[in-house]
Every structure is written in structure tokens, then in C-alpha cells.
């Protein structure tokens, strides 16, 4: 199967997908997706980013979604880290949290380590893998004219939701987020528990 070359610039995606972020909880993986998520939220109290533990974003988001069922939770990650622990999509599908969305910024390469090609630039289809895992709602976003529908999908489609965003291999936002995981844990936790 040949797919059209990606056209979306990742730096223009998250702010369009999440026009309102205040009531949501965000978990991001590492590298580019963490930078983009930190830019979206100004590294705020409702975001936990990683700079290691590759593949942990989906199960961490699942843990948040199960433990805080009254809140909407979004995972922002990349194709490489998602594939590293792809089985976690089955775990999400089985638990079926209605309040969880997974957004995968799929640039088809390992941008953080030099742009080496990844499986999705070959034959691997993440949306089909998510469907095969049993995720309730799955969508692929690859053109500008699908953006509003994708934002609506993240609000209205039955959860859990998986949105594959096909983006070019261009750079993420150059945002410098906090790299101290203990600080980030305390910041997120205190904000959440203080708010309840």
C-alpha cells in the first residue's frame, strides 16, 4: 500500500486539536512529542512529560484515566515510542476508559536520534494496529482540511480514542521543558490534588 507523503507540520497540530486544555490532564512521551506538548501547555501543571522510559506514555495515561475517571486524559506520543510498547494498546482496549485519548505524532522517523527511518515509513500502519487492538474510536489525520474533524473526534468520539497524525519529518517546537522527573511528579500531583 502506498500512502501520500505527509504534509502536516507537527508544530501546527496540537494547538488546533486542543483549543481548550484547562480541564484536561496530559501525559507525553519523550523527545519531539514532549516538546510539542510542553509548548501547547507552557509546561503547565496539567502536563507530565518524559525524557526517558520510552513507551511509557500510553500506560501512564491509562493509569491516570483509570484513577481519575472524572477527568479527560490525553496522551501525546510518537510513532517510535508507541511501537516500542504497542501491546499497551491492547491493555487500553480491554480496560476501555472512556476518558482517554491517544494522539500519535507519526513522523515516520526517529527525530531525536538523527532522523533514522521508522517502521511507519515502511509498511506499518498504526491506525490498523489500534483498530486491531480493539480501541473504540480510531482516526487518521493527514491533511489540513481534516483538522476540525480531528478536534471534534477527540471530544465526541466514544473513548478510548486513537488519533494518528501523519506529519512531516520537520523539527518539533524548540521548547525547553523541565527535565527533573521528581519535580514534575510533585508539580502535577499537587496541582491535581489541590484542585479537587
Amino acid at each position: 500500500m502506498t500512502r501520500p507523503a505527509p504534509v502536516l507540520d507537527r508544530r501546527n497540530v496540537l494547538s488546533r486539536l486542543f483549543p481548550s486544555t484547562d480541564d484536561m490532564l496530559f501525559i507525553s512521551g519523550l523527545a519531539g512529542p514532549a516538546r510539542d506538548a510542553a509548548q501547547l501547555l507552557d509546561d503547565g501543571d496539567n502536563l507530565f512529560t518524559m525524557a526517558g522510559t520510552m513507551g511509557a506514555a500510553v500506560p501512564m495515561g491509562l493509569g491516570v484515566a483509570l484513577a481519575a475517571p472524572e477527568r479527560q486524559v490525553a496522551v501525546i506520543n510518537g510513532d517510535g515510542e508507541l511501537l516500542m510498547k504497542i501491546g499497551s494498546l491492547a491493555t487500553v482496549a480491554t480496560m476501555a476508559p472512556e476518558n482517554l485519548s491517544i494522539v500519535c505524532l507519526d513522523n515516520g522517523c526517529h527525530g531525536e536520534t538523527g532522523g533514522q527511518t521508522g517502521h511507519t515509513s515502511h509498511r506499518t500502519d498504526l491506525a490498523k494496529m489500534a483498530e486491531g487492538a480493539g480501541i473504540a474510536s480510531v482516526m487518521v489525520l493527514e491533511t489540513e482540511d481534516q483538522m476540525d474533524a480531528a478536534a471534534k473526534f477527540l471530544v465526541d468520539a466514544p473513548g478510548p480514542r486513537f488519533l494518528q497524525v501523519r506529519v512531516t519529518d520537520g523539527p518539533p517546537h524548540p521548547y525547553k521543558r523541565n527535565f527533573d522527573p521528581a519535580y514534575c511528579r510533585t508539580k502535577f500531583r499537587d496541582a491535581f490534588l489541590g484542585r479537587r
Partner: protein
């Protein structure tokens, strides 16, 4: 039903865990945690989470901690090897991960495939900054479980309760 020794200690351990406010039970199935997970499924305040691989459970418990909830990752010792990288949440982040490790490759093991990982469990946990509480006899169980729950109860420290094959009984080959 409740004639096996595993049924009675599983029940006592489950009561202790739920009493400590532990609500999520991410697990990869093992003979040693079978009854405990059945109890978690039957109780209205606890929830088992079937994993595809053990390290997911480390991240799930870390996610639950971010919103003030607690979980216990239940797995066979072989699965601890899958968790190593994700245990970076412990030393780096101070996430209070609690684990229940049911041993293979331990006292009386008859399967040589199980020994390499079984014997590496405690060194790996210690290297990654996790306290270990080993259970050899029935009398050890509740005090060790309580110590593990307490040490991981207030953040910063992770703990593993290790149920040895001397306690569990070795699988026959």
C-alpha cells in the same frame, strides 16, 4: 473452593492491600497471583488491569500516583526483567511503585530456563532503587507486606514484596 493454602493467604494479603487504599491491580497472570487477582475482580473498590507486558504496570501505577491513587503491580519474577527501564520512574521521579513478585527460578525450581531471571530479580530491584521484602514462610507474609506497603506509602520510595518458591511451592516438571 477455599481448600488450597493459596486461597487463605491470598485473601489475607488482599485485605491488607485494599485496606491500605490500593485500588488498581495491574497484572500479568501467574499461578502465584491467580487468586489475588480473582479477589481484586470481585471487590467493588479494586480493579485488576490485565497487561500485555509487565512494564506497563509500572507506568500505570505511576500514572495513578499522579492523581493520588495507589496500585500494586503483580507479576511473576520473569516479568521483572521487562520492567527495568521503566523503573527509572523510581530513582529519578520518586514514584512510590509497589510490586508483588511471585518467584520462579528459586527454591526447588525444576525448569532451568527460569534460573537466570529468577536469580537476577533482587539485584535488579536493588540496582534500580527498589526496597525488597522477601517472604519465605507463612509467618513472614503479613509483616513483610505491611512493611512494603508502608515504605512505599508516602512517595519517594518503591518496594517489592517477593513471594519465594519456598513459600509458594515449586511447580512440578
Amino acid at each position: 473452593m477455599s481448600t488450597e493454602p493459596r486461597d487463605s493467604w491470598s485473601s489475607e494479603l488482599f485485605d491488607l492491600l485494599v485496606g491500605a487504599g490500593i485500588t488498581l491491580f495491574p497484572y500479568v497472570p501467574d499461578a502465584g497471583n491467580k487468586r489475588l487477582i480473582e479477589l481484586a475482580a470481585a471487590h467493588n473498590e479494586s480493579r485488576p488491569v490485565l497487561l500485555s507486558s509487565e512494564e506497563e504496570g509500572v507506568a500505570i501505577c505511576a500514572g495513578a500516583d499522579l492523581v493520588g491513587q495507589r496500585g500494586v503491580l503483580c507479576m511473576q519474577s520473569s516479568g521483572l526483567g521487562n520492567c527495568t527501564n521503566f523503573l527509572s520512574f523510581v530513582k529519578g521521579g520518586g514514584f512510590p511503585i509497589l510490586m508483588l513478585v511471585t518467584m520462579r527460578g528459586d527454591y526447588g525450581e525444576g525448569n532451568p530456563w527460569q534460573y537466570p531471571m529468577g536469580q537476577a530479580v533482587e539485584p535488579i530491584l536493588h540496582t534500580m532503587g527498589v526496597l525488597t521484602y522477601r517472604v519465605e514462610t507463612k509467618e513472614d507474609l503479613l509483616p513483610a507486606a505491611e512493611a512494603a506497603i508502608t515504605s512505599s506509602g508516602n512517595g519517594r520510595q518503591a518496594a517489592a514484596l517477593i513471594l519465594s518458591q519456598r513459600f509458594l511451592g515449586a511447580k512440578a516438571f
